[in-house]
């Protein structure tokens, strides 16, 4: 058992353990969940700390471990875990947010057993998805984490619309996930039958040596782009997100918005762009314009919200636009910035949803017209919320600033994206600031309605999750080198793979990949009809 195996297996094992504890022991359930996620977090911190001096395998992955009894070797499905600079930060962020989410689950007062089982399954699933070096398990663990989301929203959700929200998010995300599944299967079938595998490093090597045929690329790429896009709430497929988060229990919203949503972005970076460079070149400008939809349109929608959670949900969608823009630059600076925002937004989304969950648990409402002046009574929560809002606007000192600034530098460096960049900067700085500061004013400042006169501030241990998340934002915000030094070598590789062929094709003056449909006849054989099953 390596550290990484433990990180992902502990929550799942704890979930199995909980299934055998009688339901009367609600305190035990909570305790088990807290202790498990805490240990997971410590392990993730330890792994992150030791990352630089750990031994890497030939593909640059560290802490590689195989779980031999999962999967099917005949199909090339092997449960292999490993981290490199790209996902080590995500695993760390996921583990920290999972602990914070477990801390924030005190509001759950019914069916604690089921809730904590689902929470732990979700945690294990997310961490497994990020740590997996196998495309099949990458998808498998994500689905494993996704299903608890639906159930948690349906059972413990809030608001009258929670049933609608549960079904909407289920159907929407299932469509995204299934599109992705088809894309991934098709990707797998591009490899000749004898050496078929879901192993990401092997596939990467294969596609470097044998570029995928353009016809296949132009089919698989949109499938995966929009499949992942739906999962990440890419405009215009984002409408599930605000309502879903608004109706979800606090811990679910924290984990989903913070961590699980990054799955699609991670997939884009790890698989889609490096494997299909020509299509990436073709689609990235389009993605950049779509990202404006996230930043400007959803930002504008967020300004109009009257409910704090819907506002935060919309702002989280808007932040995704920044990451998409970073990915669309396809240059080192931009993509690295995108990865940094992925991590920063994980902390930030968890923090804001956690705080709004606390406010909801005390006041029973999140309608901004009914709130106001809360900072007078909840000093800690108020301060933390202001900081979160500032981080959301991209104030220097927080990790978000590092990521957003880098993304904008990267995007400006690409001449085709200058207009998009200008609009995005406006959206990010002005629109973001307007709705965040408005939310702060409406909830925390101003006169305190009489009915909230007796609200208690968070007690010491309930401050803990917010403190941990804020500390992470500050720590990496002041020392972004801790992250970027790890991320850069990997993003360099990704960017090289994405651009190498573009340069090569331009040099050879082959018809541009945008229009060339199937000039490339050397497609890896889809396998003989009969041999395919072996």
């Amino acid at each position: 058992m390596t550290t990484l195996t433990l990180i992902f297996a502990l929550p799942l094992l704890a979930a199995v353990l909980l299934a055998f504890i009688p339901r009367n022991f609600a305190v035990v359930m909570r305790l088990v969940a807290l202790v498990t996620t805490f240990i997971t977090m410590l392990l993730a911190v330890k792994m992150f700390w030791n990352f630089d001096c750990a031994a890497a395998d030939n593909d640059g992955y560290k802490f590689v471990a195989t779980i031999p009894w999962l999967g099917s070797h005949a199909l090339g499905i092997v449960c292999r875990l490993g981290v490199d600079g790209l996902n080590v930060g995500l695993v760390l962020m996921g583990a920290i947010v999972a602990f914070a989410a477990a801390c924030c689950s005190a509001e759950i007062k019914s069916r604690e057993k089921e809730f904590y089982i689902l929470l732990l399954v979700m945690t294990g699933g997310i961490l497994g998805a990020f740590a997996s070096l196998d495309l099949f398990f990458f998808y498998f663990f994500h689905e494993l984490a996704l299903v608890p989301t639906f159930i948690m929203i349906g059972v413990w959700g809030r608001g009258e619309k929670r049933n609608f929200a549960a079904f909407q998010i289920t159907l929407y995300l299932s469509i995204g996930a299934l599109l992705t599944l088809v894309g991934l299967i098709d990707l797998y079938l591009q490899v000749p039958a004898e050496i078929r595998t879901f192993d990401i490093p092997s596939l990467t090597r294969f596609f470097v040596e044998h570029p995928m045929a353009l016809a296949s690329q132009s089919f698989i790429f949109p499938l995966l782009l929009f499949g992942f896009g739906v999962l990440v709430s890419l405009w215009p497929f984002h409408s599930w997100a605000p309502l879903g988060y608004g109706s979800a229990p606090t811990a679910t919203a924290m984990l989903h918005a913070g961590v699980l949503k990054k799955f699609g972005l991670y997939g884009l970076l790890r698989v889609v762009i490096p494997f299909m460079p020509q299509s990436a070149q073709h689609w990235m400008p389009i993605l950049a314009w779509l990202s404006l939809g996230n930043i400007l349109y959803v930002g504008w929608v967020a300004m109009k919200q009257k409910n704090l959670n819907l506002l935060i949900g919309n702002s989280s969608v808007a932040h995704m636009g920044m990451i998409f823009l970073g990915i669309a630059t396809l240059n080192l600076v931009g993509v690295t910035g995108a990865v940094v925002i992925m991590i920063a937004h994980g902390f930030l989304a968890a923090l804001t949803f956690g705080l709004s969950g606390y406010i909801h648990s005390q006041t029973g409402t999140l309608e901004m017209s009914e709130l106001g002046g809360l900072a007078k009574k909840m000093r800690f929560v108020g301060v933390a919320f202001v900081m979160a809002a500032m981080a959301g606007c991209g104030l220097p000192g927080f990790l978000n600033f590092v990521g957003e600034a880098t993304v904008f530098f990267g995007a400006w460096a690409r001449p085709g994206l200058r207009l998009v960049t200008v609009l995005a900067v406006w959206g990010a700085l002005i629109v973001g600031a307007v709705y965040m500061l408005r939310a702060v004013r409406a909830t925390l400042h101003g006169p305190l309605p009489e009915k909230w006169g007796r609200l208690p501030d968070a007690v010491l241990w309930r401050k803990l999750p917010y403190a941990v998340l804020l500390a992470s934002l500050f720590l990496f915000g002041f020392a972004p080198k801790l992250l970027t030094d790890k991320i850069k070598p990997v993003t360099q590789q990704i960017v090289d793979m994405a651009n190498a062929q573009e340069i090569a094709t331009q040099a050879a003056t082959v018809p541009s990949p945008v229009t060339g449909v199937s000039t490339n006849g050397t497609k890896p054989a889809p396998g003989g009809v009969k041999e395919s099953g072996k």
């Binding site: 663990f141 299903v147 349906g154 088809v182 079938l189």
Partner: protein, 481 residues
């Protein structure tokens, strides 16, 4: 052949034992029959049966009518396991059957014998005899609750439509024999290519497929399914859903890929269309249903469509995916029906509202039904997900050759999305329905508990550790061709 003989003998023994056993011991009779079948099932892993996985003419007896190849052994194990679980369920259900409980057990065993013969059928005569043995016992099994009008109605519907489909099948066999002069599948395979353009022969093939389409409840021969599923006693429904459907598939595989492989290769369009429509029909019609057995009836149509994906792919990958999917389907569906048999005991109909508060009445059953629905919907980490993954993979693999397969794959995905709505509706009825009229705990007998836990374990095992069965299925389908 000794397996089939033992099963038939067991059926006779159960019938005879009824004469001497006092009424209060009849419960034991069902358990004994289940135990005997379990022994036979375990025996297939030890004795001659597994040795006979080796191919060769010496495995064929009775002038090649009966073949004991890997495929046959796989399905025999499948049917035996299904019958064991169905018998346990039948014992639980026996208080609702009234008179003739022992006959009910023995008929299940006889239906099983028919399925075993069908798995080994290598000849139209053998095949038809086996099919008739299954179908006729099911006419009786379906209408066994004589006091219930619904059960009788289901029996009559099944009788009329079943007889019609048998007529189609026998007509088809006659046409095939009339043109080719062959009954044996291997002999037919050698000449079938010559008749690929012969209209009469093709009519025969189509008529034969109509008969099989009825068995597997594929569109447009699915009309009987919801009514019969709803009306029949729950163990019968379960056996219909698992055993009878799998019989249809083993015969379909054997007919298409050993009897007329050259002709079947050109029929992918037909299979694609039938599969796609079956998936959509089953899933769309299940949406407005409120009766749990009807939902499962329509979902079984949809699943027939999913399994047809693997057949339509016309590859070994598709065939082994079919086997894998059916194995997962066995555990899933039997688990669902076991819960229905237990929970809906005192209710007249199996309305979804009857599930209210199930998680307080019996957490085990609530968890089982939830897992069964999740597995049917095809969500990891359960058997249904891996089965669907294999089927989709097989279909997409054929995509570059024929773009119809891509359309089929997307149709299947649309079906999965639609199905999420009603499967989650069932889960919602269990966990968060508002009224909880009845909160009395549900008593479960030990064997039933074991059966339910076994099904759950099966769902998890096939979802998490698919390696062993994938290898086995891949090895089995080599015997086709």
């Amino acid at each position: 052949m000794s397996l089939e003989i033992s099963v038939v003998a067991l059926g006779l023994i159960v019938l005879l034992a009824d004469l001497w056993l006092p009424a209060e011991r009849k419960r034991m009779l069902g358990y004994s029959a289940a135990a005997a079948l379990l022994l036979l099932f375990l025996n297939t892993f030890t004795s001659h049966c597994s040795c006979s996985l080796a191919e060769g003419p010496d495995n064929m007896t009775s002038a090649g009518m009966f073949i004991q190849d890997g495929l046959a052994v796989f399905f025999k194990r499948f049917f035996l396991l299904a019958a064991v679980l169905v018998l346990v369920m039948a014992v639980e259900f026996s208080d609702r059957i009234g008179a003739g409980v022992s006959e009910y057990y023995s008929l299940i065993v006889f239906a099983l014998a028919g399925m075993l013969f069908a798995a080994s059928a290598n000849d139209f005569v053998m095949l038809f005899a086996a099919i008739e043995l299954i179908t006729i016992t099911f006419y009786v099994l379906t209408s066994f609750q004589r006091g219930r009008v619904r059960s009788l109605e289901a029996g009559v519907k099944y009788l009329i439509l079943g007889a019609l489909s048998s007529a189609f099948m026998v007509y088809g066999i006659a046409l095939i024999w009339g043109t080719t002069g062959k009954f044996n599948f291997q002999e037919l395979a050698q000449v079938a290519g010559k008749f690929a353009a012969n209209r009469v022969f093709l009519f025969g093939v189509v008529f034969f497929l109509v008969g099989l389409g009825f068995k597997i409840a594929a569109f447009p021969f699915q009309m009987w399914t919801p009514d019969v599923y709803e009306g029949a006693p729950t163990p019968t429904t379960a056996f219909l859903a698992v055993g009878s459907k799998a019989t249809g598939f083993v015969l379909l595989l054997r007919f298409l890929f050993t009897a007329i492989p050259d002709v079947a290769m050109h029929w992918n369009k037909l299979l694609i269309i039938v599969s796609g429509i079956t998936i959509l029909y089953g899933n769309l019609c299940a949406l407005p249903q409120r009766n749990l057995k009807r939902i499962l009836g329509y979902s079984s149509i949809a699943h027939a469509g999913y399994v047809l994906l693997g057949v339509a792919a016309l590859t070994t990958a598709g065939e082994s995916a079919v086997l894998y999917y059916l194995a997962g389907y066995l555990f899933t569906v039997l688990a669902a029906f076991a819960v229905i048999a237990l929970v809906m005991r005192h209710l007249n109909s199996e309305d979804l509202a009857g599930l209210a508060g199930l998680n307080q009445r019996s957490p085990l059953l609530a968890a089982t039904l939830t897992l069964a629905m999740v597995s049917l919907a095809g969500i990891p980490p359960l058997a249904g997900f891996f089965g669907k993954f294999l089927l989709l993979k097989a279909v997409i693999e054929q995509g570059p050759a024929n773009h119809g397969y891509y359309c089929l794959a997307f149709t299947a995905l649309a079906g999965v999305i639609i199905s999420l709505y009603y499967y989650f509706g069932v889960i919602r009825a269990i966990y968060w329905s508002k009224e909880t009229p009845d909160l009395s705990p549900i008593e479960i007998s030990k064997p039933m508990k074991m059966a339910v836990c076994f099904c759950m374990a099966g769902m998890f095992y096939l979802g998490l550790f698919p390696g062993a069965l994938i290898n086995y299925a891949a090895q089995v389908v080599k015997s086709l061709k």
